[in-house]
């Protein structure tokens, strides 16, 4: 294993705390646009995205630049990937250009883990299939900590397509390490019973009202239409039973935080009123994404 970041599951709580603390230093101060350093000058980060992504890719690019590093982004459609080159061959080609880190998103679970066994260049996982999205969990934790100061004992409801969500898995692994009470909620085909055992402190709930009762944080997930090969339920039915609407929020904690990793589907998993409400942290999450990714990249580039 090289010094990349493949997932949250294998990180210890002190390692996570270190990244989150460092990210705070990269958050914009009042009256300031953003933080910038030159500590990573002369380093090169390759962003290799095998799946469509706007916010994560842009966020990593900005983070690398604000550290003073050079960055280039490659997307699958515009590269030799579309000419049938294998993943290993593509990565070996990139490694020969001597980047100091490769940020990678891939539709296959474990693709970065598989590559990390064959490459020496550190890999930062920007989302692998239905497995992990570690920087999303880190930025979500940073966002909660900015408002609440601690994760321990908080009730956090994660609602939606849990089975296919890498965001859910990374968040569960992280929040569990910090002693949060996690409630996973979704339609039965998208919430396997075994998820209750993937980490300590996880409970399952199939009724959204019970899931968000007294919740301190509600994390909504996007319905992953592109990953569905299960017989599910009609879209209207989904929104009726699992879409988050204003009326739900009254039973949650009075200062509940509503989060969403984006992109949001208004009227599908979340109503516009909730997405645009004071409770919504969606734009704070985006902003923290840059600070957290700066901390992650710095950790990789300046070991």
């Amino acid at each position: 294993m090289t010094g990349g970041l493949l997932g949250i599951e294998e990180l210890s709580r002190p390692e996570i705390e270190k990244i989150l603390d460092r990210a705070r230093a990269f958050q914009p101060q009042p009256g300031q646009a953003f933080q910038r350093t030159t500590t990573c000058q002369g380093k090169m980060v390759v962003n290799l995205f095998y799946e469509a992504s706007t916010r994560t890719r842009t966020s990593f690019e900005i983070a690398a630049r604000r550290l003073g590093a050079e960055t280039i982004s490659i997307t699958a459609s515009g590269s030799s990937v579309s000419k049938g080159e294998s993943l290993v061959d593509t990565l070996n080609t990139l490694v020969a250009m001597r980047p100091q880190a490769i940020v990678m998103r891939h539709a296959a679970s474990g693709a970065p883990h598989f590559l990390a066994r064959h490459l020496t260049t550190p890999i930062v996982n920007a989302g692998d299939g239905t497995h992990e999205h570690p920087t999303q969990a880190l930025l979500d934790a940073r966002t909660i900590l900015d408002r609440r100061g601690a994760l321990e004992g908080m009730k956090i409801a994660i609602i939606g397509d849990i089975a296919h969500s890498r965001v859910a898995r990374s968040n569960v692994y992280l929040l569990s390490k910090f002693g949060a009470n996690i409630v996973l909620c979704g339609p039965p085909p998208l919430l396997p019973r075994g998820m209750a055992d993937i980490a300590p402190g996880v409970a399952l709930e199939y009724d959204i009202r019970r899931a968000i009762r007294d919740a301190d944080v509600i994390m909504m997930l996007r319905v992953q239409l592109e990953r569905l090969h299960e017989p599910l339920m009609p879209a209207g039915e989904y929104y009726r039973f699992y879409g988050l609407r204003l009326e739900h929020l009254s039973s949650a904690s009075p200062d509940v935080m509503v989060m969403h990793p984006g992109p949001i589907n208004r009227g599908r998993e979340i109503s516009s009123e909730v997405a645009d409400s004071q409770r919504s942290m969606i734009l704070n999450q985006v902003e923290n994404g840059i600070a957290v990714r700066m901390a992650v990249l710095e950790r990789v580039l300046l070991p």
Binding site: S86, A108, S109, H113, F114, E132, R166, M195
Partner: protein
């Protein structure tokens, strides 16, 4: 031509023999077994301190020819078989073209006759192109040398087609071998459905995908009277159902692969395609049930499901890699280590699991009779050293492929010589 194997301990489960004796092979056939046999002019094989057994049989291998010769050929697969102690192998029909006609069956038989170091018996397809709709030319394939039928990796989902295939097989007195997998339940799955699959974000294959098919097939075997054989059994529930069927007197048998008794999900290296196969590595409770089945007889024999894949095909994202691992060269070593040296089964039972038992499953008769040391049968012998210490180096494999999770593993006990028709085709 005459060969005498002297000073060994002869274990022949078919005759119940387990004693110091010599074996004389003459003109490719077993001539005599007994103490202090006279064999003037014979070539001598000194088996002092070794076990002399009937030639080992593997009724489930993939030789990839015709069609996928970059991964294996009949010649290289047979060589790997010899290096694993096997003298007879049965090859599955998922070649290209599929072995669904007498032409392909004959091609395999003829190629093996010319190039293979061991005896090769084809298994014909159940349905045309193994598509599960129309029956293949089963009687013609049987006449050309097919010893069983199976659609192996593409199991027949249509129960009516399976019923008809069983009726045809019964009339021909050949077994129907099923790779038990409900393709709708397993769709998209890359590993056993369990906590680890959820953790790793890998789509799971539930045990029920195997169990519902075993249940269906047992009912159809009862309906048709066909001999029915469960390939690579992997779940505790399936073992229980086979045991139940046997207790009802149904002609139901089963095999297990070495990797299904050697590994459970806790042994898997995440996203390593050398641990990706169908059925998938199951849980420790399943392994426990399998071990008990091997001991009690619910499981009749060990078969490798040797499934070579070229390195490039296995060096990919886990979900894109094909299913299957090689197994011919590590089977006997794993059996010694995990079944015999642990005291689970006797050496005699181990030999039976590779000889008389698979021979009974297939039902070779007349001049094809094998799996025993009866005079007049094939002069096939496997010589074993239960104490031999060795390790597996996949780069030295005689298979064309190297997709094994057992690379580097140390073993105690293994084959030391493979004799086919009185000719030593492999020595350690």
């Amino acid at each position: 031509m005459r060969l005498v194997i002297r000073n060994g301990r002869v274990i022949d489960p078919a005759s119940g023999r387990n004693e110091a004796a010599d074996v004389v092979i003459e003109d490719g056939k077993i001539a005599a077994v007994g103490a202090g046999l006279d064999a003037p002019g014979a070539e001598i094989f000194d088996a002092g301190g070794l076990v002399v057994a009937p030639g080992f049989i593997d009724i489930h291998v993939h030789l990839r020819e015709p069609g996928f010769e970059h991964a294996e050929t009949i010649e290289t697969g047979a060589r790997a078989a010899a290096a694993g102690g096997f003298t007879t192998i049965c090859c599955m029909p998922n070649t290209s073209p599929v072995n669904d006609s007498a032409h392909v069956t004959s091609y395999i038989v003829e190629t093996a006759r010319r190039l293979a170091d061991v005896s090769v018996f084809p298994i014909g397809a159940i349905s045309k192109r193994s598509e599960g709709e129309e029956l293949a030319a089963i009687p013609s394939m049987a006449a050309a040398g097919a010893v069983a039928i199976s659609d192996d990796g593409r199991p027949v989902m249509n129960s009516r087609v399976m019923r008809r295939a069983m009726e045809v097989a019964r009339a021909l007195d050949i077994p129907v071998i099923d790779h038990c997998e409900d393709l709708n339940l397993s769709a998209g799955g890359d590993m056993h459905e369990c906590l680890d699959s959820l953790r790793l974000g890998v789509h799971g294959i539930p045990s029920a995908a195997e169990d519902v098919m075993v249940a269906r097939d047992i009912l159809l075997a009862e309906l048709t009277g066909a001999r029915y054989h469960v390939a690579h059994i992997s779940t505790a529930r399936a073992v229980a159902m086979v045991k139940f069927a046997k207790s009802k007197g149904l002609p139901v048998t089963s095999e297990v692969t070495p990797h299904h008794f050697a590994l459970h999900t806790g042994h898997m290296r995440p996203y390593d395609s050398n641990y990706k196969m169908k059925p998938p590595i199951r849980e420790s409770a399943d392994v426990k049930a399998i071990l008990e089945g091997l001991r009690s007889g619910a499981i009749d024999c060990i078969a490798t499901d040797h499934a070579p894949h070229a390195g490039d095909d296995k060096m990919q994202e886990f979900e894109r890699c094909p299913f299957g691992i090689t197994g011919l060269e590590t089977a006997v070593g794993l059996t010694f280590d995990l079944l015999v040296h642990t005291g689970l089964i006797s050496l005699e039972r181990m030999v039976a699991l590779y000889t008389s038992e698979p021979a009974r499953v297939i039902g070779w008769k007349g001049e094809l009779e094998r799996g025993c040391l009866k005079p007049g049968t094939a002069g096939d012998v496997t010589v074993l050293d239960p104490a031999r210490e060795w390790s597996y180096d996949v780069t030295k494999s005689l298979s064309k492929s190297a997709n094994s999770p057992f690379n580097g593993r140390k073993f105690r006990g293994g084959p030391v010589a493979t004799i086919v028709g009185g000719r030593v085709v492999w020595r350690a």
